[in-house]
């Protein structure tokens, strides 16, 4: 598919927009529709598109499989870490009110971090699953 000029050029134009849109959806999840899952899936889909058009080797150079696999765990640890930190500061597990100087700000901070963790995990899982399927086909 590398030879198809139209696909290549259009993907090069669109993939940055896709990734940017994913980041927008992630951080504006509070004010409009969106949030961690949607952003993670869209981010992952951007990378999958890159892998489909430019080949698996190019995808492997941009997103090293070992790094992406460790990101899967990192997102989940971030989420659980927020919970543990709120326990350490005196509240219950995942009680965001104690994270900042007043409860509403604490909620904002907590939601932001938690959605970030979810988004990272979902994006990394999508990229990893695609890579596993494609690598299996390559090696046959």
């Amino acid at each position: 598919m590398k030879r198809q000029t139209i696909l290549r050029v259009v993907s090069k134009l669109i993939i940055p927009l896709i990734l940017l849109f994913a980041l927008y959806v992630q951080f504006h999840g509070d004010y409009g529709p969106g949030g961690g899952f949607q952003a993670g899936v869209i981010f992952g889909a951007g990378f999958v598109l890159y892998g489909l058009v430019f080949g698996l080797e190019a995808l492997r150079r941009v997103a090293r499989p070992a790094f992406v696999e460790s990101l899967i765990a990192f997102g989940l640890l971030l989420y659980a870490g927020v919970g543990v930190v709120s326990m350490l500061r005196g509240g219950n597990f995942l009680d965001y009110g104690v994270l900042a100087h007043d409860p509403v700000h604490g909620q904002h901070l907590g939601i932001l971090l938690v959605e970030l963790g979810v988004g990272i995990t979902v994006a990394a899982v999508m990229i990893t699953i695609f890579h596993s399927f494609a690598a299996r086909g390559d090696a046959r």
Binding site: Y31, G32, P33, F37, V122, S132
Partner: protein, 118 residues
């Protein structure tokens, strides 16, 4: 008549559910079964979301001008369910790939014969 109009959306969803169910139990090809399961899942999501709508409401995002909001709770549940659904589908498809490599077929009856089941 108003009963039919009021319940019409549930019946459409039930038809979709039954189509998905039919695909799962009547087709032998494993990939077709996974697709049927996917159709079933999506129709269940539609059922819940259609239950959450309030006539005259808007999307549950707090906005200065809106009077009534549709129910946010089904959205929350279904959001979770959708991503869990894709995760399950991915694992199912990975299993199918391995089955194909081990048995060289994805038809259920051929796999049964190869396994030697009675």
């Amino acid at each position: 008549m108003s009963t039919i109009l009021g319940l019409y959306n549930y019946w459409v969803v039930i038809v979709l559910m039954m189509t998905g169910f039919y695909i799962v139990i009547s087709r032998g090809n494993l990939i077709k079964k996974v697709i049927g399961l996917n159709i079933f899942q999506t129709s269940v999501f539609l059922l819940y979301i259609s239950m959450g709508k309030v006539r005259g409401g808007t999307a549950p995002i707090l906005d200065g001008g809106a009077e009534t909001y549709s129910n946010p709770l089904p959205s929350v549940l279904i959001l979770t369910a959708i991503v869990v659904g894709v995760a399950t589908t991915a694992v199912a498809l990975a299993l199918i790939v391995r089955i194909k490599e081990a048995y060289d077929t994805v038809e259920e009856d051929e796999i049964r014969e190869l396994d030697g089941a009675p």
